[in-house]
């Protein structure tokens, strides 16, 4: 006998779990038309499914030209940040039932980065800002220890929150300052600087702070908390930015 196969969801029960929803998707393909436009797709979907499942249904069964990035499908790889009903979310972490399926669900690319096709944006400026904060451990040891460096559990805890970042850009592309001026480092780069500034093993805190002291640095932050709302990893982004600002004033970290 073969491995028992799970019955298909359809066979589940007399009361079908499926509901009808409309996905209203922002489409753009410069190979076809110069302007972006909205397109509606009506789907039968289990409300416990993800927005990503809905997009896959469209792509796989209706319109193969619909284009978006995705990989792990459970909120870890950071590929599928998009604007869902006007809020930055990961499509794979947003269940249909949690976003009022009664009304059309709008899906758009994240803002502030150039749209290349449908939901795909140019991520290069985002990664450039990240690289600019020197996102790697810098130590001055001339002889590396043979074993691990010591770090107390409390020191490790100090920067735990900002280690969770998956570089999905949901925070940066939710920030009104970034929308207006792409030169601003943006929350994600600051979060990643924070991760090193507050790591007891790192010795380049001053240098990183100087980078963020720049005119396009932390002082541009207007504390609107959009970033904290948007973060799919639950990072307290605004708090991290505040801590960096405070460190710049007190030079203590």
């Amino acid at each position: 006998m073969a491995t028992p196969v799970l019955d298909k969801v359809e066979a589940d029960s007399a009361a079908s779990p499926y509901i009808t929803v409309t996905f209203r998707v922002r489409r753009f393909n410069p190979e076809v038309a110069a302007e972006a436009s909205w397109q509606d797709f009506v789907l039968e979907i289990d409300p416990k499914e993800r927005v990503l499942d809905g997009l896959h249904k469209i792509k796989w069964d209706e319109d193969g030209t619909l284009t978006f990035r995705r990989s792990c499908a459970h909120g870890i790889c950071g590929s599928d940040a998009m604007r869902i009903n006007g809020k930055n979310r990961l499509a794979c972490k947003t269940l249909i039932k949690d976003i009022n399926p009664e009304k059309p669900i709008t899906v758009e690319p994240i803002k502030g980065l150039t749209v290349l096709k449908d939901l795909v944006v140019d991520m290069e400026p985002f990664f450039q800002a990240y690289r600019d904060v020197m996102p790697f451990l810098i130590t001055k040891d001339t002889n590396e220890p043979t074993r691990e460096r010591f770090q107390s559990a409390e020191d490790r805890e100090r920067f735990d929150d900002t280690t969770k970042c998956i570089l999905c850009a949901a925070c940066t592309s939710s920030c009104p300052v970034f929308w207006n001026d792409g030169q601003y480092f943006g929350p994600a780069a600051i979060v990643n600087a924070h991760r090193f500034i507050f790591d007891s093993r790192d010795e380049a805190g001053e240098q990183r702070l100087e980078i963020l002291n720049d005119k396009d640095g932390v002082w541009r932050c207007r504390t609107t908390f959009n970033c904290t709302d948007a973060c799919p990893r639950g990072i307290e982004v605004t708090k991290a930015i505040q801590e960096v600002k405070r460190a710049l004033i007190t030079r203590r970290f």
Binding site: C72, A153, I166, D199
Partner: protein
């Protein structure tokens, strides 16, 4: 078409690819081609930890780790490679710490360690704390740390470049690597990368199963590229089914949950693993636990109205411990199942997880063209490769280790080779195979759909070559796959454009999955025994007389153009451990 020239080209920017890149970039002009942005790689999904006998919290040593790896792999492990893995584990964890990886710490400030399946003290006496971890996001931290260090070393990435072909050229009777051909997602342009050395680090192939912990993008592209060029694939019948995937979705809940004290229970609330593995219980090796779960389900002790899953029970663990040690997986349960793990058990089922087989290499990462001959200039490391340190069943935490140990080795070996070797001249029209493939798909008008064929493939794989197999189920799969391969010739796509054509690439990826599924099924059919992840109900015992050997599968093309698979076998390297009966 564009031609690029690099000393070393690395295919893939997961853990193995980036670990290799850090070494190779410092020694040779290196390009990393990756179909995903590096930080999107599936290494980031790894949760539980990375094994190394640091002995930070209790007595441990690399020899015990080697033994567990060999036993865990049901003695199909090449023991010389396992010894390297276990010995170099210690430095590879320390390397990562020095690169900045934020491991969890013990009260004395050293790297903390926890229990994991199959890892034991003194050859099976009791579970040992060997897994180094960062909460339940160890893979995320490894991927981030390696990417950070690639930024530091100025590694040159070609992001969203899909490698679709391997160039092999015969020079004086020796088959050598000349480079690779890649497709650029953003533009649809074809790029030929001439390189003295190529390292495949393109990850696994789990997407031919339906219920899987693997990303959509894990489609075995690297394995398929070399296989199609006549190089063998080793031990492809061995695939690991992880016991605890979220019911129906397959999303992984780390074994670390059981390492922290989680318990599997059937519908009667019974801790059933006590029956199957009296010593290691819930922490027996994965193949054993997955079979036990399905045995419970088949014998009517599964949970839910359909009796098709069991529970992972964490409710007896203090909420603070769950928050500190397992924050991500408890959140998965809340997000995807609406379940509160503090108070309710989590419905789980085995999920297709890890390819033990892959491109055969020696311990330097050099790719083999038969049982002994290497292909100069060609390397592989990570899940795409088969060294073989995992044999018939990989132990938890040994893959994050594998990608670091053998990624580093391959990076150094490839760069050393490209420092002294010359470029191999490119064949005439090096891009032709890829151009033909892409154009055929772009202009095809057949009536078969990619998504439908993939669905049917995944269903037949789940039904027929998963945890339990028989001659009959495997034959059913072989026939179905042959049928799907025929129908694939009539596949057409809707997106005919050049820009970000993911419709096209999904079709290419499906072609790879079909080729590899066939190799898996054919290899499984021929292995008339049960060993590790390959369990044949019609041959329930391990047969060391006939099958203590690695499978080597070759693609053959007849004069009439008909394709077939030829199977050969390669001896297992045994050093200190004689095969014994495997009990946990």
């Amino acid at each position: 078409m564009k031609i690029h020239k690099y000393d070393t080209v690395i295919v893939g920017a997961g853990g193995a690819g980036m670990r290799a890149a850090i070494e190779s970039t410092q020694r040779s002009r290196t390009a990393v081609l990756t179909k995903l942005y590096p930080t999107r790689s599936h290494t980031g999904a790894a949760q539980g930890g990375m094994a190394a006998a640091l002995a930070n919290v209790e007595e441990d040593n690399w020899e015990w780790h080697t033994f567990d790896t060999v036993k865990g792999g049901d003695y199909l492990v090449d023991q010389d490679a396992a010894e390297i893995l276990a010995k170099e584990a210690i430095d590879s964890v320390l390397d990562l710490e020095k690169m900045g990886l934020p491991f969890n710490r013990t009260p004395n400030g050293t790297i903390d360690q926890r229990r994991f399946g199959g890892h034991s003290r003194n050859h099976g006496e009791a579970p040992v704390r060997r897994s180094c971890y960062a909460a339940d996001r160890t893979g995320h931290m490894i991927l981030q740390t390696l990417y950070q260090n690639c930024v530091k070393h100025g590694v040159e990435f070609f992001n969203e470049f899909y490698v679709l072909d391997q160039l092999l050229v015969e020079v004086d009777g020796v088959k050598k690597s000349a480079g690779v051909v890649a497709y650029e997602l953003a533009t649809g342009e074809i790029h030929v990368f001439q390189a003295k050395a190529v390292i495949y680090a393109s990850g696994g192939t789990g997407k031919f199963f339906k219920v899987t912990s693997n990303a959509h993008t894990l489609t075995g592209d690297g394995q398929a590229a070399v296989y199609r060029r006549g190089l063998p694939l080793e031990d492809m019948e061995f695939f690991q089914f992880h016991p605890t995937g979220i019911w129906r979705m397959g999303i992984l809940l780390t074994e670390g949950a059981r390492g922290e004290g989680g318990i599997l229970r059937n519908k009667d609330g019974e801790r059933f693993m006590e029956k199957y593995a009296p010593v290691m219980k819930d922490l027996a090796s994965r193949d054993v636990v997955s079979r036990s779960i399905y045995t419970e389900i088949r014998e009517g002790r599964g949970c839910g109205p359909e009796g098709d899953h069991v529970y992972l029970d964490l409710t007896h663990l203090p909420p603070e411990q769950l928050d500190a040690k397992l924050p991500d997986i408890t959140e998965f349960a809340r997000t995807y199942l609406g379940i509160e793990p503090y108070t309710d058990p989590i419905p789980i089922q085995p999920t297709a997880h890890y390819a033990m087989g892959g491109i055969p290499t020696n311990v330097e990462g050099e790719v083999l063209t038969d049982n002994t001959t290497v292909v100069p200039g060609l390397y592989a490391a990570g899940e795409v490769a088969c060294v073989s340190v995992h044999g018939a069943n990989r132990l938890g935490t040994n893959s994050l280790l594998d990608i670091n140990v053998f990624g580093k080795r391959a990076g150094i070996a490839a760069a050393n080779y490209s420092q002294k070797a010359d470029f191999v001249e490119l064949p005439e029209n090096p891009e032709s195979l890829v151009v033909e493939q892409i154009e055929r798909l772009r202009t095809a008008t057949g009536n078969e759909r990619v998504a439908e064929l993939r669905r049917e493939l995944q269903e037949t794989m789940d039904a027929n070559v998963m945890v339990f197999r028989t001659e009959q189920t495997i034959k059913t799969a072989v026939e179905k796959i042959a049928d799907l391969r025929e129908r694939y010739k009539n596949v057409s796509i809707q997106d005919k454009g050049r820009r970000f054509n993911t419709d096209l690439l999904e079709a290419v990826e499906l072609g790879n999955l079909l080729d590899l599924a066939e190799v898996m099924a054919v290899s499984a059919l021929a292995r008339k025994e049960s060993r590790g992840g390959h369990y044949r109900e019609d041959y329930p015992n391990r047969d060391d007389v006939n099958f203590m050997r690695h499978t080597m599968a070759y693609r053959e093309v007849g004069d009439d153009g008909a394709e077939s698979i030829r199977l050969d076998y390669k001896p297992v390297v045994q050093t200190r451990y004689q095969p014994m009966e495997r009990k946990y």
